[in-house]
């Protein structure tokens, strides 16, 4: 058993008949994930290399006992697909799609929360529990099985850090890309609390970046609620301030949203922050 996805995951892939959907569904299946169904309106009755396709998610759930969705639906249709997945009664939805309007996500976030559905993403690489299941587009070969939980707002940076850990002989319980958008279904805190409760996870690495105040909130959560050691890496110290949300942004979050502010918030709560991806992996290795 691992968090979010594991051997009990029964996956339905939304837009399985699309190029991305079929490519990754087959990779996920090849890894050992139980990919039980696809959903694609108008493609019911077809199959993708033996994976049956249904017109609706509900039908896929009814016919195959799917409990988790991976969403590869194009941005302008993705919100609808997510509502469909939530209403179909899935426990977990991993949304890979990039470019969903943030107002759609505001409503979806609330809608999924109110129904107790775990939504990961959107604009995320997915979730892998090495040796158990891989849902999404994460290249599985990078990650080994182990006791380090890894949660990140970034895709390739997650791979980089997983790779650095592997170089040092460290594996992962679960690796979760929560997505880089302003509003995502699961925050650092949501995932950290799952790792805290997961008996197999001994250490957690969180990978943050500029923008928002999720890292600052997570720092407080770690200090107050977690017993397991947490290490962090933050990207974007030299990123341009770029366009932030006017004056209002900083007042809301009470944080400048800069990498420096996040680093300071984490360190003030006793969380070690690596300067480079390599360094954070070394910190973890040292603490084992």
């Amino acid at each position: 058993m691992a968090i979010i996805v594991d051997k009990s995951t029964r996956l339905v892939v939304q837009n399985l008949t699309g190029r991305e959907g079929s490519f990754h569904a087959l990779r996920n299946r090849a890894y050992g994930t139980q990919v039980v169904a696809g959903a694609a309106p108008g493609h019911g009755g077809e199959d993708v290399e033996g994976i049956p396709v249904f017109n609706t998610v509900s039908e896929a759930v009814r016919e195959t006992g799917a409990n988790t969705a991976a969403t590869f639906v194009p941005a302008r249709f993705a919100a609808d697909a997510l509502y469909e997945a939530i209403d179909a009664g899935l426990e977990t939805i991993v949304c890979i799609t990039e470019g969903i309007p943030v107002h759609e996500m505001l409503r979806l976030y609330q809608y999924a929360r109110d129904r107790g559905v775990t939504l990961i993403g959107p604009n995320c690489p997915g979730v892998i529990s090495p040796g158990k299941a891989n849902v999404g587009i994460i290249p599985a070969e990078i990650f080994a099985q182990g006791s380090v939980g890894l949660v990140s707002r970034s895709g390739t940076l997650t791979y980089q850090i997983g790779y650095e850990l592997a170089q040092l002989g460290l594996g992962n319980t679960t690796v979760i890309g929560i997505g880089g958008d302003a509003v995502v279904g699961s925050s650092f805190i949501d995932i950290l609390s799952r790792f805290e409760a997961d008996p197999e996870t001994e250490i957690v690495v969180m990978v943050g970046e500029i923008g928002g105040d999720e890292e600052e909130r997570a720092a407080q959560f770690v200090a107050e609620e977690m017993t397991k050691p947490v290490f962090a890496y933050i990207a974007g110290f030299t990123a341009p301030p770029g366009k932030t949300m006017g004056h209002a942004g900083a007042i809301i979050s009470g944080s400048a949203g800069t990498a420096q502010a996040k680093k300071e918030a984490l360190e003030a709560r006793g969380i070690e922050v690596g300067t480079t991806p390599t360094e954070v992996a070394q910190l973890v290795a040292k603490s084992v």
Partner: protein
């Protein structure tokens, strides 16, 4: 993943006011002018005193001299001549909004924005207008009313009352106007997919009428597909030249002020690469994310934009192959080197999917200005060295 850095499309004041008016918010009469002559004509048409306002995507234009009252069309023309071409925090003024001058009794502040932490729209309102809102938040927080709206249920009359009573508005007529205005502002916010709608100042005129004297609206880039009218408001000239070139080619590119060109796949990895360049003692020249696909043509386009930047002394590629295949990126580099003359040395770090194959392709091409490195830190260091 452009959304992480570019949180939306900023509108000019006059564009924001256009959206405001469509939803019934009270704004002053005004006209756009792009030359002093147009400013004069606008002032003539509007009659009486006008305000000549620089249209730029930054705050503080008043202090910078970008907002001036003109008592006559002649004065408006003169003011316009002075303001056009002015540079305000790096933005050159090329448009003016000529607006009838209002008789201001009091100045308030009203905004609705996206609270990322709470995942809800957030109203902020204060009667302490005319100053920077951060200052009110810092020095007089109880004067700032903050109020979340549930995104599923939307705006209700009580939200309006919570704002007005919360801010201690005593006059019932004024309360009613502000409550209606807040409701309309929320409509703009949701129906235009805005991430920020700010009115600063929201003024009470001497006649007791509320008026949005300024308008700051930012619209979610991801939602522009369903707002053709708003997408058409984009001013291509507002972005730096290189960024415009990159945008035309579909490359996510942000110009910075250094000498190391940076390319990578994934916003997080690119940001981390910028940081490593800085740690190695260099300064990044740009942020450039090849994205998830990383097809050869994208690499060619990006290299074209980056190598054209005269500040760039060296270029570093940091690719962690996943969906992106390193051999495909290598092919892009080779194509680019054939197609365009690239003077700068190119440091390449490949890992992940088809990294071996990518490295092999590059080494077989026996290029003199391409330098493979095994790790991202070493790649960053090498690029800084080569730029030195």
């Amino acid at each position: 993943m452009v959304s992480r850095l570019l949180l939306g499309m900023d509108l000019y004041e006059y564009q924001g006011k256009e959206l405001f008016r469509r939803h019934g918010l009270p704004t002053g009469a005004g006209k756009l002018a792009q030359t002093p002559a147009e400013a004069r004509a606008a002032a003539e048409e509007l009659g009486a005193a006008v305000v000549v306002k620089a249209q730029v995507h930054v705050g503080g234009r008043g202090k910078a001299g970008g907002v001036k009252v003109a008592a006559s069309p002649e004065e408006a023309e003169a003011r316009a001549a002075a303001i056009l071409g002015m540079e305000i925090k790096g933005h050159v003024v090329r448009r003016l909004w000529i607006e009838s001058a209002a008789e201001i009794e009091r100045e308030y502040y009203l905004s609705v924005t996206l609270d990322r932490g709470a995942k809800k729209p957030l109203f902020m309102f204060t009667t302490e207008g005319g100053v920077e809102i951060e200052q009110v938040a810092a020095t007089n927080p109880e004067a700032l009313v903050k109020l979340h709206v549930d995104p599923l249920e939307g705006f209700h009359p009580w939200h309006g009352r919570a704002l007005t009573f919360g801010a201690g508005i005593a006059d019932a007529n004024e309360r009613r106007q502000i409550e209606r205005l807040a409701s309309q502002l929320y409509e703009v916010f949701t129906s235009c997919d805005a991430t920020l709608c700010e009115i600063n100042p929201l003024v009470v005129t001497k006649a007791g009428e509320l008026l949005a004297l300024d308008a700051k609206v930012t619209v979610d880039d991801n939602a522009l597909f369903r707002h053709e009218d708003i997408a058409a408001m984009r001013d291509p000239e507002a972005a730096p030249l290189e960024e415009r070139a990159a945008r035309e080619k579909g490359v996510t590119y942000v110009k910075l002020d250094g000498e190391i060109g940076v390319l990578g796949n994934g916003a997080g990895l690119v940001m981390s690469t910028l940081d490593l360049v800085a740690l190695a003692g260099g300064r990044p020249a740009n942020f450039c994310d090849l994205g998830g696909g990383g097809a050869a043509q994208g690499v060619v386009d990006a290299l074209e934009v980056i190598s054209a930047d005269p500040q760039v002394k060296a270029i570093v590629f940091n690719i962690f192959g996943g969906i992106t295949r390193c051999d495909e990126v290598a092919r892009g580099i080779l194509q680019a080197l054939e197609a365009i003359a690239i003077a700068q040395p190119i440091v390449v770090r490949f890992d992940g999917t088809n990294a071996e194959e990518g490295r092999r392709l590059l080494s077989e091409a026996k290029l003199t200005n391409v330098y493979p490195e095994p790790t991202m830190l070493e790649a960053a260091k090498r690029a800084v060295e080569l730029a030195g």
